[in-house]
Subunit: 365 residues, 2 copies
């Protein structure tokens, strides 16, 4: 991560009155605290104390079974034993690229992609490039992209799979926001269409809780054993406590009904942010997202987004600079604005502050 942006974000987070349109943190009011607490209390009294003990590197059996069964419901040929539980989706991605790239190389991405993934690729000596068909590995978010919050078209999906089959390239499918499409349950993942070339990645961070750090990787079958060894090398195993709580929790609820509430909740917040932007910052362009946590807003100005962030923080609002999400250089300044964390009133007030910051920024010097 850019050191200056990191420093500014930390400064912003330390000021209590800053409204956060940055970061993509799920709404704390959606954490199912009471249910997780009940699961915790059941877990800690289990005689062997599994929740506190070492476990296998691939993760707990019932949790793997839950993940596999969700993927089978969506049409994918995934056995329980195909699932490797990871310390969040980020680690699943790290394991996948560690196996796909022996030393360095290029990875094909959308022009805008998840900043945490881009940082990871670069940290591992892999250069993200805008995918124009030539990359041996592609990183995609077909259901709900980050930062744009849109779905890949049917044509683009077909073309992606066709290309992978033709040139033998690999696809990393990051499904992190798939359960947060506003209008519908997640469609079939790419791994349902092409099992041998797709590395599927998922997480409970967006729907249940990011602090539990539980995600998963479903590698192509021939990489299963090596993926487990890679997981073991990285940190032995995902934390037992969260796994034990989650497997209890997930088998007690109807997950689709659980996410339905979240999907409606975030759809309302997305609309609220969109309306506020239309009203107070009509010169910015954006498309209303179809899922996820954020709106990708493009200004028409050529400007330094870290400099703008300083202005925004002075007005009491934080945002994510668009440059963090861009694979190549952008022409005009863009921002990722999250509607996930703050309530409706604070979203409105955050945009008012943002508009004030924008006016001052435009008049600077």
């Amino acid at each position: 991560m850019d050191a200056r942006i990191d420093e500014l974000q930390r400064k912003g987070a330390a000021i209590s009155n800053v409204i956060s349109l940055a970061g993509g943190l799920p709404a704390p009011e959606l954490f199912p605290r009471a249910a997780l607490a009940a699961s915790f209390l059941r877990a800690i009294h289990a005689p062997r104390g599994d929740a506190f003990q070492y476990g296998w590197p691939e993760g707990r059996e019932r949790l793997r079974a839950w993940v596999a069964s969700r993927l089978r419901q969506r049409g994918a040929d995934v056995l329980d034993k195909d699932v490797v539980i990871t310390s969040g989706a980020q680690q699943a991605l790290d394991i996948a690229i560690g196996m796909l790239f022996r030393r360095g190389g290029r990875i094909g991405c959308d022009a805008e992609s998840y900043a945490g993934a881009l940082d990871l690729f670069r940290a591992r000596g892999i250069e993200p490039v805008i995918d124009r068909g030539g990359a041996g590995v592609r990183y995609v978010m077909p259901q709900v992209s980050n930062p744009r919050g849109d779905a890949m078209s049917e044509d683009a999906r077909r073309e992606l799979v066709r290309r992978a089959r033709r040139d033998g390239s690999a696809i990393i499918e990051d499904d992190a926001y798939a359960d947060l499409r506003f209008a519908s349950l997640p469609g079939p993942p790419l791994v349902a269409e092409e099992r041998r070339r797709v590395w599927h990645i998922g997480t409970l961070s967006k729907t249940v809780s990011p602090g539990l750090r539980v995600g998963w990787l479903v590698p192509p079958r021939q990489f299963r054993k090596a993926a487990i060894e890679s997981k073991r090398a990285a940190d032995l195993q995902a934390n037992s406590l969260a796994q034990t709580i989650l497997e209890d929790f997930l088998f007690r609820i109807d997950f689709d009904r659980f996410t339905e509430r979240a999907r409606r909740f975030y759809a309302r917040r997305a609309q609220r942010l969109a309306r506020a932007l239309q009203r107070h910052l009509p010169e910015w362009r954006f498309r209303e997202p179809s899922g996820g946590f954020a709106i990708w807003a493009e200004t028409r100005a050529v400007a330094d987004d870290a400099a703008f962030l300083e202005f925004a923080l002075k007005q009491g609002v934080s945002v994510d600079p668009g440059s963090s999400f861009r694979v190549g250089p952008g022409e005009t300044m863009a921002l990722r604005l999250s509607f996930a964390t703050e309530n409706a009133r604070r979203i409105d007030e955050g945009v008012v502050r943002l508009a004030r910051a924008w006016r001052r920024f435009r008049r600077r010097r």
Copy 2:
């Protein structure tokens, strides 16, 4: 990990009646379940829901402060902000070697060392070699070594630090078992003697709970920022739930008194295993450990330890083959025998089974 040994260990773990002298799992009866549950219940009601939310990559402030203060008590110049909370000591080690080795190389180790570290080094293309003074990076466990359970002599410590200063090499100090020296509190860590060349690693896995996956890395100061970025790339952050529970728990107890109980407990079990070995397997040689979870037992036979493990499992006892811990080839067969997991009666019975397996193994063919 050797695939055959892995498969055998999994087979052993799946049989309910097998007595485990393998694995190094802490005794479940020592998990402070009630206190951790109380900390959990306090944590989940905090308004922002920190336990379930994203946090900073370096970890929670109070937890870092606790680690730093423990190290300062032991004489090390460590500030709160020098501590990076990791997903267990294993990840701390992965981050350290990732920064110390750009591509491959050799790492100096004791002739026997922690199997998880050796696996990790090899997975990352780094060759563990027996340290004879030439390695640019050394991996050591000065307080309580694994698998031998002994402390480094004062002379060896002085020589190690002297060499690092002379040739500018780095030392990775794995302090995982430091709080489990049977007869005394941990002495000064190497990082107290040499701050600029020592990468210090610790964990709560052996004393509080391995399932929580909380460890730490204290890199030399010039690597602090890069270590945090490396942690972020690997998995964003250690899990918030465990961190939140632990920081509450650790500030409510007297940690030295807490570990005193564990130190006495494991000392008794170590003695029990030692007595049983002397009685039933007098031809095996070992030194009584001064801390940790295991006894390193050497047979006088030249034999395949994985083949012996098969015999042991048939008799209902599992052990860790010594080859997993050896940096070079060993001359005679050795085993790591853990006394941590099973109670006294089962330790006795485990050794009876082990002796039976040994007799049959010696008579085979």
